[in-house]
């Protein structure tokens, strides 16, 4: 063995200090408690944008729906979606004190990050239609939930169709 290495190793062994002392180990490590800090149950993502449930119900009643739906991996608005958004735009113009947060969603058949982009694309399509129908852009924001907030929990065509959506959430 190389002498200088041996000296270095000896020095390090000494520097480790207590190698030669017969004191007991400081602790016997406790068993790992994987139940510590159990998962919470609350979901609260609405700290800044405050939802207005009564106004939301009024939007649904007057405009027919707060939601429009999309084809797979698409963000274009079909005739039904355009009719719903036109009615939403009229409601927004009749209720100038509130704002709209357009929330775009995707079904579970896309990857997580791509679906965030797709949800934004859908929310923006709805937002642009509302703007074209007279709603001031400053009253509208968009967010994307990707595939993180499905309304239908199945893994089938019917559930996926319900989840490919943009929801106009009334906020103040």
């Amino acid at each position: 063995m190389n002498k200088s290495v041996l000296i270095g190793m000896t020095a390090l062994a000494l520097a480790l200090g207590a190698c030669g002392k017969k004191t007991p180990p400081a602790d016997i490590p406790p068993a790992v408690d994987q139940s510590a800090n159990p998962p919470g149950t609350a979901t609260d993502d609405s700290v800044d944008l405050i939802e207005l449930p009564a106004m939301q119900a009024d939007l649904i009643a007057k405009a027919g729906s707060d939601t429009v739906y999309f084809s797979t991996d698409e963000s274009s608005l079909d005739n039904q979606a355009q009719a719903t958004l036109a009615a939403q735009a009229r409601w927004m113009l009749a209720n100038p004190s509130v704002r709209g947060s357009i929330e775009g969603h995707a079904d579970e058949r896309g990857t997580r990050e791509y679906n965030l982009a797709l949800g934004e694309r859908r929310a923006n399509a709805a937002k642009q239609f509302l703007i074209a129908n007279g709603v001031p852009e400053g009253r509208l924001t968009t967010i994307s939930w990707g595939k993180e907030r499905p309304v239908a929990v199945g893994s089938n065509e019917e559930a996926w169709a319900q989840n490919r959506r943009a929801v106009t959430v009334v906020v103040k």
């Binding site: 270095g8 190698c19 400081a26 490590p29 790992v32 609350a42 800044d48 997580r112 965030l116």
Partner: protein
């Protein structure tokens, strides 16, 4: 002074010094999956008669070696231990008759100052000689790390690969029903121990990724109902918004030197890739197509970035220079490709392949050649590399329930192994090797 202490000083265990020998005993990282090496890992003797510690350390080493898929560990249960003196002078015949090709031996020295030293020896049982030894001195409360380092020493010496067992995993812990899932960032050792939560679950969080030194995370959070990228200091839990303002930012990853963060920003129905200093600054735009450009991941030399884009009409993988120049498609295998991650070795890109209604994890070279599929389930997505570039961790979602769990797979073959998490999990990020 007892004989073992004299032996320790005569043959000191120092982490800086490794006595190595290039012997014939080695495990083939490809063929070894079909023919794992039998390796004895008996309970180690401990100072002060603390037999529990020596046995627990041997159990961790045994478990670690089993998870590599390259070994069939024998012990510590069901096989005899040995004396201090035998740690550095094993009775080879005993281990030969036990059917072991190799032996992991050693001993544990605890100190009153709260330090613990693990002496780790690897022997070629068939040839009857020592292959490598190293000592690991750690804080006593970090004793599991010393065991992982010993297992890494054995794995590296016998496989020729870099270590990866003494690492952590950060991921998104998932609980609750599919339509109201609670997502929290959790961190654990890569064997599932020392599990703890880093966020409370009030705001949905996604895609936590380690900094190259493992001291920071970058991730996306919906706090304030505005999805944006944050940087968190792991030790303190302090978090900071990456890009000031309300812009929608996501899909973040650190550069290999930790100085930059590359991410996606979406506005007006268009998602592009940007890069910004990890400590702030003005984001610089790297892509400018009308498609969704996302999931960027740096090459280990920092010169290139792999990402996905649907600019061609479907999700495909592209590589560009770090400044956004020379963007070119690399995936041409049919179907769609998503969420690429560049291996820390630089030789492969892992990805999610979408086809036939399923997601599978695969790898290809950075030029797009040599594509291989590693998994086969309904939805496997979001690969993250072990620091040695030999294993990939991802999450597997169950059809119907949408429940997700973490799995790791050897890129050379073998079945994916489920990672132990207390509840569901997704979006794993494998840490660099612990210090």
């Amino acid at each position: 002074m007892k004989p073992i202490i004299a032996a320790l000083l005569a043959l000191p265990m120092a982490s800086a010094a490794v006595a190595q020998d290039s012997g014939p005993l080695e495990v083939d990282v490809v063929g070894g999956i079909q023919a794992p090496m039998a390796i004895a890992v008996p309970a180690m003797p401990s100072a002060n008669g603390d037999a529990a510690m020596g046995r627990q350390i041997a159990e961790i080493i045994s478990s670690d070696l089993r998870t590599t898929g390259l070994f069939t560990p024998l012990g510590p249960g069901g096989i005899a231990g040995y004396s201090y003196a035998e740690a550095s002078n094993p009775v080879y015949a005993t281990w030969r008759s036990a059917g072991a090709a190799a032996l992991v031996a050693g001993y544990v020295e605890g100190a009153g100052t709260g330090r613990l030293t693990l002496a780790c020896y690897l022997y070629d049982v068939t040839a009857g000689r020592e292959l490598v030894r190293q000592g690991f001195a750690v804080n006593a409360n970090n004793w599991r790390s010393a065991a992982h380092k010993c297992a890494d020493l054995v794995y590296s010496r016998l496989s020729g690969e870099q270590p990866f067992l003494d690492t952590k995993v950060v991921y998104v812990s998932e609980t609750g029903p599919k339509n109201a899932r609670v997502k929290r960032i959790a961190i654990m050792d890569s064997d599932g121990s020392n599990h703890r939560y880093l966020t409370e679950g009030k705001a949905t969080v996604l895609t936590p990724r380690f900094s190259p030194r493992g001291d920071k995370l970058v991730y996306m959070s919906y706090q304030g109902r505005r999805p944006r990228v944050y940087v968190m200091d792991v030790a303190t839990g302090t978090e900071r918004l990456l890009v000031p303002g309300t812009a929608f930012t996501f899909a973040p990853r650190f550069s290999p030197d930790g100085s930059q963060i590359v991410f996606s920003m979406a506005a007006g129905g268009n998602t592009d890739i940007y890069v910004v200093g990890a400590n702030g600054g003005t984001p610089r735009r790297l892509t400018a197509t009308p498609g969704a450009d996302t999931s960027p991941s740096f090459s280990p030399d920092g010169n290139r970035i792999v990402f996905e884009s649907d600019r061609s009409g479907s999700q495909q993988l592209y590589v560009m220079n770090y400044d956004g120049s020379n963007q070119r498609r690399i995936s041409f295998g049919g179907g769609n490709y998503a969420s690429p991650a560049w291996s820390p070795r630089g030789d492969l890109i892992a990805f999610t392949r979408i086809g036939g209604g399923a997601f599978r994890i695969g790898v290809m070279s950075p030029s797009g050649g040599g594509e291989r599929t590693l998994t086969n389930a309904w939805q496997d997505e979001g690969p993250s590399w072990a620091p040695n570039g030999q294993f990939v961790m991802f999450h597997r979602t169950t059809q119907g329930s949408g429940n997700a769990a973490l799995y790791a797979v050897n890129i050379n073959g073998g079945q994916p192994r489920r990672m132990p998490t207390p509840v569901g999990g997704s979006d794993p990020s494998w840490s660099p090797l612990n210090n």
